[in-house]
Symmetry: C2
Subunit: 301 residues, 2 copies
């Protein structure tokens, strides 16, 4: 990991005269901390939470930052993944988490809840106001399962970059591309398209690029070498372990919605055991206590 050079200029964001309120100062510091985590010799492992206790469990376990999972959060509020949720409900959920975590919080804003660059920037502005200091922005339309034109996505990312400067909070922009899943052609064509898009997003001002669906060691190696820039991969079956990802130069490893999948899988096993066997072992073994659960709602100091 020797990608520090490109982000050195971010220190300009933290002059005292600009950071007037203590809250703004706090967010600026968290954004700087989060940015720095993308430029270390070891990988940033970033767990994705969907509500207050999941975020706090991750923080308390020692992760240096916490992100949200769009699928986990949307579904927890009764909406499928995507942009169908009411924006106020979404922002309220972000704010609830921001109130209880002290580590940097990055929020998945899907494709930015809007067709135009200014709509996307307004969404990012709102989640930053709700307490986030980083965002994930993807380049495909959930409803249509279709990639946006790369030029369109660049305009959106540039609008968010301009917002970052005007906010005076050096928010970390993780630009996701779904080219590996939705571009035309064969695997090789799609990897090429993902690299092209990731380079374009990097050059538009993103701080990290996130090729969704990058799993096998060879493709990760090809991608990271082609970008020479902080790259995010998501945990899924077949992904190499952390040590190997570090060796490959991956800067950031996110959980994606996996913790939501895991929690719901556990409830399903618990249900089967109680209904079929009439016992409670999977419900009680390894559980936290009432006091521990309540402590997870404690606002940050």
């Amino acid at each position: 990991m020797t990608n520090q050079g490109l982000r050195i200029e971010s220190t300009r964001f933290i002059s005292d005269s600009e950071a007037e309120s203590s809250h703004l100062k706090w967010q600026v510091e968290k954004a700087e901390d989060f940015r720095a985590l993308h430029h270390r010799s070891h990988i940033l492992v970033l767990p994705n939470a969907w509500d207050v206790p999941s975020a706090r469990i991750f923080q308390d376990a020692g992760f240096p930052a916490v992100a949200t999972t769009s699928a986990g959060m949307m579904v927890s509020l009764g909406f499928p993944d995507g942009e169908l949720i009411d924006m106020r409900e979404f922002l309220a959920a972000v704010a609830r988490i921001a109130r209880v975590v002290t580590v940097p919080l990055s929020v998945d804003v899907v494709a930015g809840f809007g067709e135009t660059p200014s709509q996307v920037a307004a969404t990012v502005s709102a989640v930053v106001k709700a307490g986030a200091i980083g965002v994930n922005i993807e380049d495909f339309l959930h409803a249509a399962k279709k990639l946006f034109a790369v030029e369109k996505q660049i305009e959106k990312l540039k609008a968010v970059t301009r917002l970052r400067e005007s906010l005076k909070i050096p928010i970390v922009i993780n630009a996701r591309t779904d080219a590996l899943r939705y571009a035309d052609g064969n695997d090789s064509d799609r990897l090429e398209e993902a690299i092209l898009r990731a380079r374009a997003y990097r050059d538009a001002g993103a701080d990290c690029v996130y090729p969704m669906g990058l799993v096998d060691q060879a493709s990760i190696s090809t991608f990271v070498k082609a970008l020479n820039f902080p790259t995010n991969v998501m945990i899924r079956k077949g992904l190499p372990p952390v040590k190997e990802l570090e060796r490959l130069g991956v800067a950031r490893l996110s959980f994606g919605p996996n913790a939501s999948y895991a929690a719901m899988g556990l409830l399903r096993r618990v249900s089967r055991e109680v209904l079929e066997k009439g016992t409670y072992d999977s419900l009680l073994d390894g559980a936290i206590s009432y006091d521990e659960l309540n402590a997870l709602a404690k606002p940050r100091a």
Copy 2:
């Protein structure tokens, strides 16, 4: 289980002239269904959810009804268990769950969010409006860890009983007593107080009584024989298995906050594995899929 007699009069709630809207009819039917589940030869196993996907996992697993856990729900929204949450946030969370479940939904309203009987009834009215057809009401003040005077609790339950009649929805009232935990005296004194209170709550119009902390077989047997009335026990370490509870005449077995404890315990194990070993087995094994997660947000038909 031969406790049917006391509830026969509940059929008066479902005359067609009274149930004017289809939604009201729907709730009346669900309330009747839920009531009937307390009077079968086998136990009602009632899982407690805290959000949309947890509720839907339970419904899809085959439980005939779903309840909420106050601790799980409050903490998921950033508040400790008790009545500190904003009522609108609480009701919004109930409504989100009610939108996606088709089985009867019972809601834990803690001690009713108010000092007076009319305040408690107003709370119950609001959660019924949000989609619940049953409530848990407890007889102790969370903030002070102190039991309410039994006369005071009776007045509250009577107010909810009157509300039940005026609503024309035969909501199921589960009256919880915390006497086993907070009454004076030794274990025997507290069991006696729990029985006294449960009888009083039964006579005030409750449909089920819930002695929090009733765990061992001998105490359960004593309690159920003394009440001869639907009794709810909560899963915890040391509780006899379902078959034995049925033999003892327990009508209803609830999860309480255990599923929240279990889910958070799993996230803690997942965190440790990723941070210490750099692997993802506990995160990926037994998890549900993206499509399965999304399906949990589907509104009810």
